[in-house]
Homo-oligomer: 195 residues x 2
């Protein structure tokens, strides 16, 4: 695996403080590289999402099907972690599909393996804790916006979070991510540019 790529991920665990040689090796030892072709499904409902993906290139989308329609749960792009956290944290089968929006390159590790590393090197417990805490903060923001902002605000917020989103994914996927129908999203967009 290219050293440059690993460094990207290593930067993410800097908050832990300086790693010993042994710690760094234990961590690097459980990493794998994974190439995912556009349209490939990484997992599907009923499977365990017991793997974390750190995206180097490309994008993923988690979604599920309700009344025959896809509902997008989340988008993931470069330099962020991706999985179904509910399955991953809760050790239960996922309810989602995780699909590659584009050709994607990721570094991955297994939940079980990082937990084992963390048992041996407590520093990594802290990494896992902070990772989980940051994930919480992000979803809490989204929850609040879904709870009581107008569609226009939801739209703006999503754009600020993923500026490139409309260039990279079809609009009806964004609509369900926002909890509305594609027609409603069209209306809002038009209102913005016209008004």
């Amino acid at each position: 695996m290219a050293v440059i790529l690993k460094n990207l991920l290593l930067n993410r665990i800097k908050p832990l403080g300086k790693l010993s040689q042994e710690e760094e090796e234990a961590f690097l030892g459980i990493l794998s590289e994974e190439s995912i072709g556009k349209g490939d499904l990484i997992f599907r409902p009923g499977k365990m999402a017991n793997k974390m993906y750190f995206l180097l290139k490309g994008g993923l989308r988690s979604y599920y099907i309700k009344n025959g329609e896809e509902i997008t749960d989340y988008f993931f792009f470069e330099e962020s972690f991706a999985t179904d956290y509910v399955s991953y944290f809760g050790d239960k089968p996922t309810e989602f599909y995780l699909e590659a929006l584009e050709d994607t390159l990721a570094i991955t590790y297994d939940r079980a393996e990082i937990c084992k590393v963390a048992e041996n090197y407590p520093r990594f417990q802290k990494f896992l804790r902070i990772h989980s805490e940051m994930a919480f903060i992000e979803i809490e923001q989204r929850m609040r916006i879904l709870q009581n902002e107008t569609l226009e605000t939801k739209f703006q917020y999503t754009l600020s979070q993923f500026p490139y989103l409309f260039q990279r994914v079809p609009q009806h996927q964004i609509a369900s991510y926002l909890g509305v129908k594609p027609e409603s999203l069209s209306r809002i967009k038009q209102k913005k540019t016209t008004g």
Copy 2:
């Protein structure tokens, strides 16, 4: 502090495995008991929510004010943890009020202190991680329901989560928790009992 009460909280850290005498004492050493009178504000916007509350009795509500109206962010009741996790995890001032819905009794600890304990006794890193992971799972469920369920389903789900909710808090607070106006909640309730 009554031993029985501490035991309630100690049960929560059982997943860590058996604690040594030293570990247990370090943990108990940072706990305080706190009585909060109905209507009291535990914190308000701008303050650090750097304290975790484990509720033994009573209930809390976090809310903020938008366009002159209170928006309820969350309800907390007996035997659950309460704080503003965004402030607590992110070490940033909170944007919420945290108010006692009833006379409330809680065991509390400071973020800084539990983190210190965790630095000395890595087992507690795991506790903090799992706590954060469970909080994530809960909010992700709520987010999904806010995202794309009907108001009636949101209503049902909330009832199943807090069966006693309507006996304990005013309905307009529940309405804003669900992201609708009180009148809409009235309508749904009537529809349920009539139809």
